[in-house]
């Protein structure tokens, strides 16, 4: 008789912070205390609060323990599982600043600041079920949507439901999913394909990984539904090879679904056939672009090809193909079960449902969140994300990865939806959200994202291959103090050119991080160029170390530590730094015992 369930996150985040060791320690301790027949350990996907991992939830109480180490396990077993007492030092109960905690009352997960504004649809089962056991998925209404579609709906009904739901692609483009399916359904061919884009590559983004790790069957089920809707019998999941846990769980899920005949021939006895294969990406960002992805599945160098023809007309192996992102698929079974109206009741007029974001950068709760479309950026950063650590000032949020842009602090009340973000020069993208504070230099941030594109450009078309490189050279010139009058205009000219003439979406959007930072932080660019100054104090080449004469005791320590002998002076008198020799390493500042050295 099982009386307690212990859910331990086995997603990549918590695995990295040591959840496997925690699980092993728990297993041993349960055996030692002869509790292994009464307490069941469930390895789940991501809970979202990766910053506080490894994470554990104990049911039926719903107690949320964070940052657990194997050393904590004996106490948790002894106190919580045997004696029924909370180990309060490990309990996570941060309910946010604006809510008053009631003394003595345990805080449920949904009341915490991190979770209370979230709405979990795509992540519904993540952190709840064991993704390696199909029965747990089925127990959460899994494959009921596929059953409903195959037995009660025509393909046209399915497509209409998708259209009415207002679901738009979650991979970045935001194209209406139902319309895409309609195009593929309209294409006449004996052979069609359904493809899942799981080549998540934006720096800092891990939404799709978490869905695949935590709820792989939702994706399989949705792909089968898509297959039925457009008349395809074969699917491919293109997942990056850097996601070993996701790949393993996907393969387990596919095998189990085949065993249950939820994939394969004559599914539910309806005569519908559908099967899925996995293809691994070899680490090229560009393969997340849909035509490059298809080219890669075909066995060729992953490079975009011109559209039209669109994949819905001529896609994989020249056949009509729909390609959707992992998160898009993860919404679909619930849309089928609960109806288009339920889904479209959430969100804004043109952006329905929810969106998963990976919070990163200068934010307290780095991790994964799912919020209704239209949530204000402010709510995400300050309420869900817990604000900026260290009392620093919020400067900007970067969304949309290398194709996106920066939202300045002045626009923190922007509604997060497809169109509002586009309007302010950023984009939803696949869901990376990187928070920047006052110490971040916006020119450097632009260079960081552009460098990513320069390295990851497929090299096929001229504007992306050479143009982005030239832009990066200008940016690096600026951050190294060699910026020239006219550099901003040169950047803008190249950016507009690349946007207008690059072959694929990735190339066309590559200049966005530069354009959006120029738009909102032009003064920072100008300070670098004209005053040779980095306002954030970030750009090393522009830093200037000086000794405050009134604070310097003339101890000579800094002069001894300086690796290039740039500091000189007489003992017991103020020392000086020769700016021509200084390499801005900062060792003098670290070594000074009197805080007499300042960096400007």
């Amino acid at each position: 008789m099982i009386r307690s369930h212990v859910l331990i996150c086995a997603g990549t985040g918590c695995t990295s912070s040591g959840s496997t060791a925690v699980r092993v320690a728990l297993e041993k301790e349960l055996v030692r205390k002869e509790l292994d027949k009464e307490v069941k350990i469930v390895q789940t996907g991501c809970f979202g609060l990766c910053a506080l991992g490894p994470i554990m939830i104990i049911y039926p109480e719903g107690t949320f323990y964070s940052r657990i180490t194997p050393e904590d396990i004996p106490e948790i077993v002894e106190e919580h599982l045997l004696k029924g007492r909370l180990v309060s030092r490990l309990v996570y109960d941060d309910i946010g600043e604006d809510t008053v905690k009631e003394e003595g009352k345990p805080v449920s997960l949904n009341e915490t600041g991190f979770y209370k504004k979230q709405k979990r649809i795509a992540l519904k089962n993540c952190g709840v079920i064991n993704p390696e056991i199909i029965d747990e998925y089925i127990a959460m209404d899994g494959y009921a949507a596929l059953g409903k579609v195959l037995t009660e709906m025509t393909p046209a009904d399915v497509i209409n439901t998708m259209k009415e739901s207002g679901l738009r692609g979650r991979g970045g483009g935001g194209f209406p999913t139902g319309t895409k399916w309609q195009f593929a359904a309209n294409s006449i061919s004996d052979k069609k394909y359904v493809v899942c884009n799981a080549d998540e590559g934006d720096p800092g983004a891990f939404m799709d990984r978490s869905v695949l790790e935590g709820d792989p069957h939702a994706v399989l089920e949705a792909m089968a539904i898509a297959g039925y809707a457009i008349g395809a019998d074969e699917g491919y999941i293109y997942v990056r090879a850097e996601y070993p846990i996701a790949i393993k769980r996907l393969q387990i899920a596919i095998d189990q679904a085949r065993e249950y005949n939820l994939l394969g021939k004559d599914i539910f006895g309806t005569g519908f056939n559908f099967d899925i294969q996995i293809r691994l990406g070899a680490g090229a960002f560009v393969c997340g672009e849909e035509t490059a992805l298809l080219t890669s599945i075909e066995g060729n160098r992953g490079e975009p090809r011109p559209r039209p023809p669109f994949p819905a007309v001529k896609g994989l192996f020249g056949q009509p193909t729909i390609i959707n992102n992992v998160e898009t698929y993860a919404n679909i079974p619930q849309i089928i079960l609960k109806g288009a109206e339920w889904f479209s009741s959430m969100g804004t007029e043109k952006s329905k449902g929810t969106k998963v974001f990976a919070l990163g950068g200068k934010i307290t709760h780095t991790g994964l969140v799912e919020i209704p479309m239209g949530t204000k950026l402010r709510e995400i950063i300050y309420e869900i994300g817990g604000g900026i650590p260290g009392g620093k000032k919020f400067k900007a949020a970067q969304t949309g990865g290398p194709s996106g842009g920066c939202i300045p602090a002045s626009l923190v009340d922007t509604s997060v939806d497809y169109d509002s973000l586009i309007a302010i020069g950023s984009m939803m993208g696949s869901g990376g959200l990187i928070v920047l504070d006052e110490d971040d230099c916006m020119v450097d941030i632009a260079a960081f994202f552009l460098k990513f594109t320069v390295d990851e450009s497929c090299g096929k078309c001229v504007p992306c291959r050479i143009g982005t490189r030239r832009m990066l050279e200008i940016l690096e010139r600026i951050t190294s103090g060699k910026g020239e009058e006219g550099d901003i205009e040169r950047l803008e000219e190249l950016a507009q050119h690349i946007r207008a003439t690059a072959l694929c979406g990735l190339g066309q959007t590559a200049p966005n991080p530069v354009l959006s930072t120029i738009r909102y932080f032009r003064d920072e660019y100008e300070a670098h160029i004209k005053e040779k100054r980095c306002p954030a104090g970030h750009c090393k080449a522009l830093a200037r170390y000086t000794i405050k004469a009134d604070a310097c005791k003339g101890c000579s320590l800094c002069a001894k530590k300086c690796p290039v002998n740039a500091i000189s002076g007489e003992l017991k008198k103020p020392y000086v730094i020769d700016q021509n020799k200084c390499i801005k390493c900062g060792i003098c500042m670290e070594s000074c015992k009197f805080a007499a050295i300042e960096k400007k």
Partner: protein, 579 residues
Amino acid sequence: MNTVNMTIDGIKVTVPADYTILEAAREARINIPTLCYLKDVNQIGACRLCLVEIKGARALQASCVSPVGEGMEIKTNTEKLRLARKQNLELILSNHNRECTSCIRSANCELQTLCNELGVKEYSYEGSKTESNVDDLSASIVRDNSKCILCRRCVATCNEIQNIGAIGVSMRGFKTTVGCIYNKSLADSPCINCGQCILACPVGALHEKDSIKDVWAALNDPTKHVVVQPAPAVRATLGEEFGLPMGTSVTGKLVASLKRLGFDKVFDTDFAADLTIMEEGTELIGRLTKGGVLPMITSCSPGWIKFCETFYPDFIPNLSSCKSPHEMLGALIKSYYAEKSEIDPANIYTVSIMPCTAKKYESQREELGDDGMQDVDAVLTVRELAKMIKSAGIDFVRLPDENFDNLLGESTGAGVIFGATGGVMEAALRTVYEVVTGKTLENVDFNVVRGIEGVKEAEVDLNGTKVRVAVAHGTGNASKLLDMIKNGEKSYEFIEVMGCPGGCVTGGGTPIISANVHAYINPKIERAKALYGEDMGKTKRKSHDNTEVKKLYEDYLGDIGGHKAHHLLHTHYVKRNKY
């Protein structure tokens, strides 16, 4: 045929529905600048020069890959487009080795031409350059990636047209390069040295391995007796290098220019072509009558030979054992001619003028020589010969016609047509027919094996024996043919394969034609006309009527296919690994 109606720059056009916008614009007599586009070879939209504005489309579109549509409104010549094209051109220039004056393609460079046409007057985007190297280890082809603009025309040619795949695209972004796998040299790749990549290259990133210096050195060496022979296709193509129209036959001027360059003797590879027919025809009859390996496949094309050795080694026994014609002639110059003229063969230096880069590689094959002497000492391409003529100050166009030297200089029409696809087959059929049937062939034109269809087939009745023949040109087409034979779908007795599409007239050593000319003129057809015209004008059109060939057998070789002929005129092949 489905058609669509559209307007381009206000001009109404009706074009086939499967056209691209670029093709439609050309119908409307509008030239959109292109660089990576090469008709029938490469359509990838990479260079972004052929951009057009399509009403209602978000970004500018590459016309070479954009399909036409009913009611489309296209603009090809707006300020925005002119600027965008120029900017892309300037970006290309910023990562291009601009040593134009010393570049082999100076004045025949598509990039240079575009810069002139689009008004590039400054280098706006100077910056770092992609790391590159020069690969000159191949016997035939040199690749200089500092000049490569990554149009990928060479890659498409090697992969799609020739079905070899020796080169491809490696690395990403700004580091992207074209080359062999694992940065190997072409010399260590399955490259067959056909040089079709050179013809595809719009700039100077690819050229033949230079032999001009060696030939000048031999000509300047008083101890050397330098003997030259030009291949059939040389006379059909050399004129283009001097501004003569494509398809002009310049045989007499070719001979005159070679004599003025200082060659001691000017013999004709066409003679050796006739000789090849005697040997190869006899070999075929032998295989047909004595149960030899069939189909027999011709062996004149060294690119094809290496392709067969590397990719289809099962067919090595099918290859005729005949050396290629210029190698036969090289061997005879150093034996028969040396003996007749009493010159020590060690002092003879043989030069072949070839429409071919693979012949450079072939001439270095160990088995193509005797007593430590190679049959052929140097191979010049048509382009290299033109450079020599120009640097020697010879006024080629106004030269009088002169004749080849006797002994190894006579040829029939059958030898001349060796330079076009189907030509070897036709020449062989003219002789084999008369030998087998004993009858005179009244109409010597086998039109069925002429033309530029990829694979041509025919059936010839030889006294009741049906001989099924096939002709393939370009190794891509050869693959298709051999695969059909392997699968049992097709069966033949005799096959001609030429490694280059179109045969030798469009070989890798012939004059380079820009993509813009390719769009309207097919050199495979135009150049072949020169050879068929010369064939028509000859009184003797069958190889076995060549009196110098007959004399060669009577005075020196003895029997056709006999011992001495075998020693000098035949060779063998080896299976090769790709890597």
